[in-house]
Symmetry: D2
Subunit: 232 residues, 4 copies
């Protein structure tokens, strides 16, 4: 990779492994689940008593999913592209709007992992790599990221369109997006992504989302865990 | 149709043409549309000024639909089955839970129209029928509904399962359901159903929904009407 | 219900409990499932050997659903409205076009069950009703259907719009529709509707659909049954 | 970026701007559109005559979309990640399975554009860059790609998990995926992506898909273009 003099760097590099999934708006309650289910029987509840909790348990256990759709969670996510690519494979009951490298310059923010791993068996069996080997990997990443962002900025200065200058940027570049889902689609996502087989980095997103479910629909969240984190 | 003595009627008949579509929960704002769109440019707004309004206009005009998905409206609808059948053909971005004739007895509530119409040309050209002809139609409907509900109740008394006793009930029987959508799917529904070609009765649902959009996302609603009620 | 002289009947009544779900076009294979999954590993198979069968089993068992979406089944269904209403609640991965009572006259074809049932416990515990009680129910249905269709035709003769004349028609009136789905959405439908808790009549549709899966994707169908008829 | 001796390269680099979208299976016809629409009127056609063509025109013009859903196209796409990222934002009526960098090593195949462009006005106004400037960009890309793939392979040799070693790989790395859609969702995709505002590279995918529509549903394709490439 051709490298220019150090003074070409115009931006401060930002290396991190923080993944943010912050709740920005929510409209959700356990009681609405109950009333959505009870409309089948032409009945309605005003409080969440034992019967109502029993009903949520019944719905979760028997995979009656639609009563869990009458609610909404919106998150602001900051994560590397390799996380975004996996998350946006979730299509139904999920809405997204994302930072576009066609329209706006990407920031010099890149993923450098604290947790470096090696595969030791099946596709989901990993062991942490520590010490020198992990440090070498991180040092190579950081040097490479600096060089790549310099190439990106140089291409921009030479008036190459943003949508082409970004060809230099790696899948570990950070992006930002709004993500809206409902409790049912959230539980489907969490069931696959807060799971022992899930990629460590997307599990951070899933854990944050699950915490929001616990905060706003505690009864739903408890029964979900109790029945094996399988979305109804 | 076999008729028993009057004393067999155990329920009071309810004839109406009122169609209810009542907002029960909402989380929606024009500003969220702006911020969902601006994340593409890695920018954010805190107030809805002229630039922000211009952006909503741009999105609507150019059919950029996804920024309108980060919000939620839940309605409680009371309408005849022939309205429900048409509404639930709307699949994407719409959630429903409905009164079930398998699990609960249906109420003796039936649709009797004030507005009786005759087709006078193409499939969407109607003229109102007034006077005697309309009255005869309504009288026949009411007599029939009484007889049918009597048959329904008699079958139930003879222990026929609810899911079979209802075979007597007409498509003009009232049902009740929760309906959740977002502004984008709402606009798609309203564009087809608050339209000159739409069936009069479903247009009542669509008008109520559109009023909720006006109340909670006034800028979105104005630009939607301005650009021909075509969902972005 | 007001009744006119017999000569008013212009159509021949058709009472039946036959429910048709006929495959009209299909593009589906087990091999495509394998290759959709193997693209993850940048590999491709040309024949369905033991390894490929093992992979289908793995996908089904571990709920990897997307490889089952690259195929299509289209059915022509003839069923009463109360079946159609339940089926069309299935939204994702399902396409429908249905006979419209707004545009075309409905046929005098109505559901009269051979299998009459009574509820004997929970909502899904039924026992067959035989002999006189069942016959009385069927006789009442047939008499009612005759009277209702007469009312429907009379309203049409008096130029009431088709979309209103049908208010007389019961939910047991037959309709007709095209239904297109893929193996994944088909399995989701079948899992709920060819199930002990499903309504008997919709189970007829589900069984036909499952037979088409068996014919065209035998390996998928076997593993589906083996793993408890839970859609991946 | 740290560089090792040349002999470390174990793979042959492949630089290209070819984007492949090859039809691998299809089940589609104009006649099925007609029959899906005609079921509304309880009618059926056996041939595609003038009346049937007129009906397709009517459906397209008046945005009746559902009759265009009873068909299927499956494509094998080979394209850079920045194309895949944009395509997979299309959620409804689209199915995907993709090469996974978690499970399999990525090939040393990278996008080097013949068509280099600069932005000269609004976000969609570009002019081609020719001569030296374009060559310099391409040379920098190729040198960078070589260095990045070397880093990728070195990390793999040092037993870093594949899902982490790929942090070095750019968004211009080629991936491969199966994509299944129906004519309605295909037309929605093509309307946005074979459009003057679309990114040049995704337009190659959209043009291939549109050619398959022309081949298998010529009447649908003609009316689609005639009515402004707006999906019904």
């Amino acid at each position: 990779m051709p490298q220019g003099p150090e003074e070409e760097f115009t931006s401060e590099m930002h290396f991190t492994d923080e993944i943010v999934c912050e709740l920005v708006q929510v409209c959700a309650s356990d009681l609405m689940v109950v009333n959505a289910a009870r409309v089948s029987f032409n009945r309605e509840s005003e409080e969440l008593g034992d019967k109502e909790k029993g009903l949520i348990n019944f719905l979760m256990k028997n995979h009656h999913g639609t009563p869990f759709e009458h609610n909404m969670f919106t998150f602001r996510v900051e994560a590397p592209l390799f996380v975004q690519r996996e998350q946006m494979r979730h299509r139904i009951g999920h809405s997204y709007n994302e930072w576009s490298g066609r329209y706006a310059k990407m920031d010099p923010k890149f993923y450098v992992p604290s947790y470096v791993r090696t595969q030791v068996g099946g596709p989901y069996d990993f062991e942490e790599v520590n010490g020198d080997a992990a440090n070498v990997f991180r040092i190579h990443l950081e040097k490479t990221y600096r060089a790549l962002y310099m190439e990106y900025e140089r291409a921009l200065r030479q008036d190459v369109a943003k949508e082409q200058a970004r060809y230099f940027l790696p899948v570990s570049t950070y992006t930002k997006y709004f993500w809206t889902c409902n409790a049912r689609s959230l539980m489907h996502f969490v069931g696959l992504r807060n799971h022992p087989n899930a990629m460590f980095e997307i599990a951070q997103v899933a854990k944050s989302a699950e915490n929001s479910l616990i905060d706003h629909m505690p009864e739903t969240a408890s029964r979900y865990v109790e029945h094996g984190r399988i979305a109804p």
